[in-house]
Symmetry: C2
Subunit: 248 residues, 2 copies
């Protein structure tokens, strides 16, 4: 299979209720489109969630890093290209490119996924699935943004708290992965988004949270930079996810 | 123009991050799709917001009522049909039908819109726009659900409060119309959505709210029914929107 056949391309439009006050697509909606593109691409290759569910497996998103020069503006069509960079025993790396309507690259994203058994909730060996044919989809194309980093938050004083509500909960009964992106960005004042834009957004998912749980948000600012590390914790102290937001 | 030519039909799919814990499309996402369908249909007829903005006018959604027997399930394609029922001097009624992938009607929606000047913020005379040709788009098709009702809330004790955050704000700097739908449904416990489903949802928009404003939620339950009236108010007491939620 040629490299080109290994790349999936999907078309989207920046809908009016999916842009922020600057008229640009929100990071949460872009994250949703990336995950949809991942879903289409894996489904077309026999590794979609619906198919895996029949075999008692499912994909779990572990990390996502998005880095962009520019976000699509309201009503603008854009496309997402996605391909598999690597497959390890317990993880696979999937990359993305975001292109404007003229084919100009707006930015890239990286994601890390694990597969788990829906019966035991334990990680599956990717190499053992479908006779290991997942490696046939590995594509040589480069992704010129840094891999997701290790995020550590020292601050022990929460700056915000939310209770997981109906609209936050997905079909698995878990807090919706896309909603975390929105809640993290909601920690910042509007002025921040007026003066700057999010150049890079990272999120690492550690544990599931559920309806009615209280989530506490802790944040460190990296000294002398406009980079913020965020940790979302349950009241028990258990980390649910960590995020890094870099403005520029 | 025949009745059929006056109806616009638009295709959608219930995406995985757009369904709730029961696997059904959320009311907020359906609302968004209805508003998109309205946008496509009006744009195709020379009354789209982009065109109107050039003439210093814009559409303002005043009321929305959605009544459904069933919501599309995750991954299911569905379609939205929309048409103009009536045009008055200051308002126009736009209706919708929601159909499943086999063309079976899942439900209907009604909406009421005003046009305002973006300069004076005052209502425009629809009959005076584009030589009154908006009446050419009126379609005889019936919409077998009740019109939006007058909603009144007596309770003076708020049951919830939120502060308008970055993700709540749209391109006009106003609280996003779709977000109100989510916040209203977030007033209910998960059990309610386990035992019942929202049969009818109504919302009437009265005033704009802005980043950082606190919004208070007041609710009455109609005696002996599973019908709830909600009012969202600013701290000043000004009503921002009213909603009716009927479970069945």
């Amino acid at each position: 299979m040629s490299a080109e056949n290994k790349i999936g391309t999907y078309q989207f439009v920046a809908e009016p209720f999916h842009v922020d006050f600057t008229g640009r697509l929100t990071m949460g909606v872009l994250g949703n489109h990336l995950l949809n593109a991942a879903g289409f691409h894996s489904t077309e290759r026999g590794f979609g969630i619906a198919k895996l569910n029949e075999e008692d497996y499912t994909w779990v998103l572990s990390r996502l890093a998005i880095e962009l020069d520019e976000m699509p503006f309201q009503y603008e069509p854009f496309s997402v290209e996605t391909w598999v960079e690597n497959v390890y025993r317990l993880f696979t790396d999937r990359n993305f490119a975001v292109l404007d309507k003229n084919g100009k690259t707006l930015g890239y994203a990286r994601s890390v996924w694990a597969m788990i058994s829906t019966v035991t909730r334990k990680p599956a060996d990717l190499m053992a699935m479908h006779n290991g044919n997942i490696v046939d989809y590995i594509c040589e194309r480069s992704c010129p943004i840094e891999k997701p980093s290790r995020i550590k938050v020292k601050n022990q004083e929460p700056i915000a708290a939310i209770t997981a509500k109906y609209s936050d909960i997905d079909i698995n009964g878990h807090f919706n992965s896309v909603r975390y992106i929105e809640h993290v960005l909601d920690l910042f004042p509007l002025e921040k988004f007026k003066e700057k834009r999010v150049r890079r957004f990272e999120i690492a998912y550690m544990a599931e949270s559920y309806f009615g749980e209280q989530l506490l948000f802790f944040m460190d600012q990296e000294e002398g930079t406009d980079s913020y590390d965020v940790e979302v914790r349950k009241e028990s102290g258990e980390a649910v996810c960590r995020s890094k937001v870099i403005f520029s």
